[in-house]
C-alpha cells in the first residue's frame, strides 16, 4: 500500500499500474543481470 501511495500508482488505473510495474521489473532484472555480468 505504501509503495502504491509513494509512487502515486494509487491514482493510476490498473492497466497503467501494470505498465509501470512491468517496466520497473524489467529494469530491475536488467540491472541485476548487468551487475552479475559486470561482477
Amino acid at each position: 500500500y505504501q509503495y502504491v501511495l509513494v509512487t502515486a500508482l494509487y491514482m493510476l488505473e490498473p492497466w497503467e499500474r501494470t505498465i509501470f510495474n512491468s517496466l520497473l521489473i524489467t529494469v530491475a532484472a536488467m540491472a541485476v543481470y548487468t551487475c552479475y555480468v559486470f561482477m
Partner: protein
C-alpha cells in the same frame, strides 16, 4: 521553523509553526508528480490518436480551423491528475452543513469521469470541512425562525440596488448592528463576500496608488487590487521585515520613473489565512502603518466571529483599537451561517463607498432572510438576544484541543495555535486522494487541497473546527485521523511530541 513572538506589542504569546517538509518526502513527492505527468502524456497521446474515448469537451472537426476554444495544455492537470481523485471534491450533501451532515452516496463506472447516485445517503457524517466556526449553520432555533418570518414578510429577493429601491430598513438595521459589533463609526453590507473585496478596492485606490499585498492573499483581494489599476507589490507571507522593506522603498523612491510620492499606500492583509491556518501579525502591521503613514485594509473573512474573547475578530484577539484599522472588511459566510460581506470604518469612508462602490450602484442588495439571519446570529453573539447562547458557543477550546492532539500524534500541522483552521500536511499526490477516501469510510467529511492551490510539495488536509463540535465528535474524528495517519504513514513531524 517555529515563530514565537513575545514582544511588547503582543499581550500573549504568538506561536506559529510551519515545520519544513522532510527532504525525502519532498523528493518522493516530485517523483510521484513526475510519474503522473508521464502517464498523463501517455493518456493524452492515446486520446489524440483515438485509442481512448475523450470525455472532455472538445471542438468538433468542423471547428478545427477556428481559434481553439479550449486551451489544451492548461487543462492537463485537470484531465490527468485532478480527474483521478476528484471524488474527494464537490461531494453533494443533503442536509445543513452543520457539525454533522448527510452525504449523497455516488459511484463512478469510469474512474471519476461520470458519477451516478446510488440513492443511498451517508448519515451523520462528522463535518470537518465546512466553515461553520460558531455553529450557526442550523435549520432550527431562533435564527431559522427569524429568517423564515422575514421571508414571509419581505420575500426572498430584492430586485434592485442599494441606491435605488433595494434599500430596506433591514439593511439599515444590519449596518448599524455591524458597526456596533465592530466598534467602528459606520458600516456597509454587501450581498457577496468575494464582491466586497473585488468591487470596493477599485473604489478606494487607483492610478498613482500603491498596494502592498501579502503573497497568500485571497483571490478576491488579488482581483480587486488588479481591477483598481494601482501598482501592486507583494510581500512574503506574514513577514514584517519584507513589508517594512517595501514600505521604506515606496516612501524613499516613490513612483517608478517619475519618483513622485505615491498618492496612497494601502496594505492588504487577512485576519486568518484559511489555507495556512496563520493569523496576521496585526500589532506589527499597525505599528508599521502608523510609522509610514499607510492605510490598512484588513480582510476578516475567517477571523470575524471566530477569534477574540468577544468574537470581534483579530482586532479583539490582540486587544487593539478598531479605529487603528482604516478599512475593516469581513464576510458573514463563515461564522454567521449566512452569506455576503461588510466594510466598516469611518463614516466618511462608508458614505464615499455608498456613492462610489460598484456593488452599491449595480449589484442587487442582500436578500432579507439572509439579513435577518445575520442580525439574529450577531445579536446572539453579542448577548443582546436575552440569552447566553452566544457565550456558550466556545470555539477556542475546541481549536486548542484539536491542534494539541494532532501535534501529540506526530502530524505536521501548520499555522497558529489559536487558529480554527487546521492544515494537516499530506505532501504526496496519492495521499491526497487516499486520505479523503479513508476518512469518508470512517464517516468523517474532510477537505483536501493539492497543487496548484498549494505549493507542489505542501498538499494538505484542512480541518475547520466548529463551536458546534462536541468533544465526542472531536475525539471520534481524531481517532479516525490517527488511524488513517498510521495507514498512510502521515506522521512526519520530527518535533518532540
Amino acid at each position: 521553523n517555529h515563530h514565537a513572538s513575545c514582544t511588547l506589542l503582543y499581550k500573549k504569546p504568538f506561536v506559529e509553526s510551519f515545520e519544513e517538509t522532510p527532504l525525502l518526502v519532498a523528493v518522493l513527492t516530485y517523483i510521484g508528480y513526475g510519474i503522473l505527468t508521464i502517464f498523463g502524456y501517455l493518456r493524452d497521446f492515446l486520446r489524440d490518436w483515438k485509442f481512448e474515448k475523450c470525455h472532455l469537451a472538445r471542438e468538433r472537426e468542423e471547428q478545427k480551423d477556428f481559434v481553439p476554444l479550449y486551451q489544451d495544455f492548461e487543462n492537463f492537470y485537470t484531465r490527468n491528475l485532478y480527474m483521478r481523485i476528484r471524488d474527494n471534491w464537490n461531494r453533494p450533501i443533503c442536509s445543513i452543513p452543520g457539525a454533522k451532515m448527510d452525504l449523497v452516496e455516488r459511484v463512478t463506472p469510469d474512474y471519476n469521469w461520470t458519477f451516478e447516485h446510488t440513492g443511498n445517503v451517508l448519515k451523520d457524517v462528522i463535518n470537518m470541512g465546512s466553515y461553520n466556526y460558531l455553529g450557526f449553520a442550523e435549520n432550527t432555533g431562533t435564527c431559522a425562525d427569524a429568517a423564515s418570518e422575514c421571508t414571509v414578510k419581505y420575500g426572498v429577493g430584492v430586485s434592485s440596488t442599494r441606491q435605488e429601491i433595494g434599500n430596506l430598513d433591514k439593511h439599515e438595521e444590519l449596518e448599524k448592528l455591524v458597526a456596533r459589533f465592530l466598534g467602528v463609526e459606520s458600516s456597509m453590507a454587501f450581498g457577496m463576500g468575494f464582491a466586497t473585496n473585488s468591487m470596493n478596492i477599485p473604489a478606494l485606490t487607483g492610478k498613482g496608488c500603491l498596494i502592498l499585498s501579502d503573497e497568500l492573499n485571497h483571490a478576491s483581494l488579488v482581483l480587486g487590487a488588479r481591477l483598481s489599476g494601482s501598482t501592486i507589490r507583494v510581500f512574503k507571507h506574514n513577514n514584517m521585515q519584507s513589508l517594512e522593506k517595501l514600505l521604506r522603498d515606496a516612501i524613499v523612491h516613490g513612483q517608478p520613473r517619475t519618483h513622485r510620492p505615491w498618492k496612497k499606500i494601502l496594505v492588504l492583509v487577512e485576519g486568518i489565512y484559511s489555507m495556512e491556518g496563520s493569523i496576521v501579525r496585526l500589532p506589527e502591521v499597525i505599528a508599521l502603518k502608523k510609522k509610514y503613514k499607510a492605510y490598512l485594509y484588513l480582510d476578516e473573512a475567517h477571523s470575524i466571529g471566530a477569534l477574540g474573547p468577544r468574537g470581534r475578530g483579530v482586532v479583539d484577539y490582540f486587544g487593539l483599537d478598531p479605529s487603528d484599522v482604516d478599512i475593516m472588511m469581513g464576510t458573514f459566510t463563515k461564522s454567521f451561517g449566512a452569506a455576503g460581506g461588510y466594510i466598516g470604518g469611518k463614516k466618511e469612508l462608508i458614505d464615499y463607498l455608498c456613492l462610489h462602490s460598484h456593488s452599491a450602484v449595480h449589484a442587487t442588495s442582500m436578500s432579507p432572510p439572509i439579513t435577518q439571519q445575520i442580525i439574529t446570529s450577531m445579536k446572539c453573539i453579542m448577548g443582546e438576544d436575552g440569552t447566553t447562547l452566544g457565550e456558550f458557543r466556545i470555539l477556542s477550546e475546541n481549536t486548542t484541543y484539536f491542534r494539541r492532539r494532532l501535534h501529540e500524534m506526530g502530524f505536521i500541522i501548520y499555522g497558529n495555535n489559536d487558529s480554527p483552521v487546521v492544515p494537516l500536511m499530506l505532501y504526496m499526490p496519492a495521499k491526497i486522494g487516499a486520505f479523503g477516501r479513508e476518512m469518508l469510510k470512517r464517516n468523517i467529511g474532510t477537505v483536501v487541497v493539492g497543487f496548484p492551490a498549494t505549493p507542489i510539495i505542501e498538499s494538505r488536509a484542512r480541518f475547520c473546527v466548529s463551536a458546534a463540535h462536541t468533544r465526542e465528535m472531536l475525539d471520534k474524528a481524531l481517532n479516525a485521523i490517527s488511524e488513517v495517519g498510521d495507514l498512510l504513514q502521515l506522521k512526519y513531524s520530527r518535533k518532540n511530541r
